[in-house]
């Protein structure tokens, strides 16, 4: 094959505009990598013919691991022999995605030697995605990565690589140490990450505050979101300063409060904290004046997923407040009860949120031995969807009395 880049009029359209282009990046890599040249050729053909030419292979991996390698083969291996095998490797990212340049260079060097050289930093799972290698190169790549303390992440029906926001490392709103929790659970569940044993995937995501920068509420089966249970901290002088500098506190803060729990009298801000929904809006608008309370922890939510087999779900509250301190024993106990039940009763390719929908939240809570609480609601200020047996028993008793 010639070293010249294939003609790619369709793909060239994706280089126009001010934003970064993956096509430009592949073209740069193609100057050195025959794999990338064939990748451009096959991709252009796919755009031209509106047909995808990838086959999803199912067996490739490294010895002992059941996840982290996604098999991919070209459906046109005679025409594009360099991408006949084009497997993806998911590599467990450091908590909070903190690297030094030395670590990044080493990863890139390994990948240029053993793969196509192109990466996706980072995939939607949060992992470092190394795109394109052959079956023979999987073990050598894994071995090289281990030497620089990187491990393969999750894929398939296992615990997917846990991910977290940068938390206390950079963000003053963080209500718990997301990086520590993410690292702890990643280490605790190595077996579950590398050896798929579940009905389907299971994701954790750790957000330090309700701003939920890693979108755990929408993307993680278990969303662990930082929260506080006392009052919002108010610096009254800073509030006055915002007003003096022209901020319309009533329009921009008070009127946008979803709970209508704030009031501004032109001089002071008053917050009825018992009605606060922890939405973070006021804190985000006046970061110098307001801050989360001091009694901080996390809300544990369960059940979200993107639409694959069935429609999208958001997580809903399981534990309204948990102190989130190492070694997180109560959380791990709860998690293992959930996994036991889901593994026992879950259908193939049924996410835990779908499982809860099928069996009902009441039955689910009873099976995992968790007491229902009023915070277990579908939306703020709606009725709890958990009913109390004592309540029904009382009702039945009253009816019997009135009948007699």
């Amino acid at each position: 094959m010639s070293d010249a880049l294939p003609k790619t009029p369709k793909l060239d359209e994706l280089e126009k505009g001010k934003w970064p282009s993956f096509v430009t990046e592949i073209k740069m890599a193609a100057k050195k990598s025959p794999m990338c040249r064939d990748l451009l050729g096959q991709l252009e053909q796919s755009y031209e013919e509106k047909i995808g030419y990838w086959k999803h292979g199912g067996i490739v991996g490294v010895m002992g691991y059941g996840g982290g390698v996604i098999g991919r083969y070209s459906d046109l291996p005679e025409k594009y022999p360099n991408i006949s095998h084009f497997h993806t490797m998911r590599i467990n990212q450091p908590a909070g995605w903190f690297y030094n340049t030395d670590a990044l260079r080493k990863i890139c060097d390994i990948w240029e030697e053993h793969g196509s050289g192109i990466t996706n930093m980072h995939g939607s799972t949060g992992d470092i995605i190394l795109l394109g290698t052959t079956t023979d190169e999987l073990e050598p790549t894994f071995s090289e990565l281990q030497k620089i303390d990187f491990d393969i992440g999750g894929s398939g029906s296992d615990v997917r690589t846990p991910s977290c926001c940068c938390g206390m490392a950079r963000c003053e709103w963080s209500c718990y140490d997301t990086m520590k929790a993410c690292y702890d659970l990643t280490q605790a569940y190595q077996d579950e990450i590398h050896r798929p044993a579940f009905p389907y995937k299971f994701k954790f995501k750790f957000s330090g505050c309700p701003n939920d920068c890693v979108a755990s509420m929408a993307r993680a089966d278990m969303s662990i979101i930082g929260i506080w249970r006392d009052d919002i901290q108010v610096d009254r002088a800073a509030v006055t300063e915002y007003a003096k500098n022209g901020m319309d506190i009533k329009a921009d803060v008070v009127d946008n409060c979803p709970a209508r729990c704030m009031d501004w009298d032109g001089k002071e801000i008053h917050i009825d904290n018992q009605f606060c929904r922890r939405c973070m809006h006021c804190i985000n608008v006046m970061p110098k004046a307001l801050a989360p309370g001091k009694d901080r922890g996390a809300a544990i939510l369960l059940g979200s997923k993107a639409p694959i087999i069935e429609g999208a779900l958001l997580s809903s509250v399981l534990i309204p407040f948990y102190k989130m301190e190492p070694p997180y024993e109560e959380l791990k106990d709860l998690l293992e009860r959930i996994w036991d039940l889901w593994c026992e009763e879950g259908k193939n390719r049924e996410r835990v949120g779908e499982f809860i929908q099928r069996v009902g939240m009441g039955n689910f809570l009873e099976a995992i031995e968790l007491e229902p609480v009023p915070e277990m609601i579908a939306h703020p200020r709606e009725n709890p969807y958990v009913f109390y047996e004592e309540y029904f028993e009382e009702d039945e008793g009253e009816e019997e009395e009135s009948e007699s």
């Binding site: 086959k55 999803h56 292979g57 199912g58 067996i59 991996g61 010895m63 002992g64 691991y65 059941g66 996840g67 996604i70 098999g71 083969y73 070209s74 291996p77 006949s84 095998h85 079956t135 894929s155 398939g156 029906s157 296992d158 077996d191 050896r195 798929p196 044993a197 579940f198 009905p199 389907y200 593994c343 026992e344 193939n348 390719r349």
Partner: protein, 81 residues
């Protein structure tokens, strides 16, 4: 009497081998089958260790076809040379 990891691994291997080409078995299918076959003589922990042994020895491999399965090593249909 409680079954050993080796005994469970052997029984699981037979199950996987017999099902090859007919039905793909997930790790939980193997565990459930063992719990049923050796009721009271095996627990989930032993089953987990048995699956680990099968994979680490190379007698079985994890495969992925929409979900993850345990199968005996074979050349998959979609694999190019």
């Amino acid at each position: 009497m409680a079954k050993t990891v080796d005994e469970i691994a052997d029984a699981m291997y037979k199950l996987v081998k017999d099902a090859f080409g007919i039905k793909k078995l997930k790790p939980m299918d193997l565990t459930k089958a063992m719990m049923e076959l050796y009721e009271g003589e095996v627990d989930k922990k032993t089953c987990k260790a048995a699956i680990k042994q099968l994979i680490d020895s190379g007698k079985c491999v994890y495969t992925y076809f929409g979900g993850s399965y345990v199968e005996i090593p074979h050349k998959e249909g979609s694999a190019n040379e």
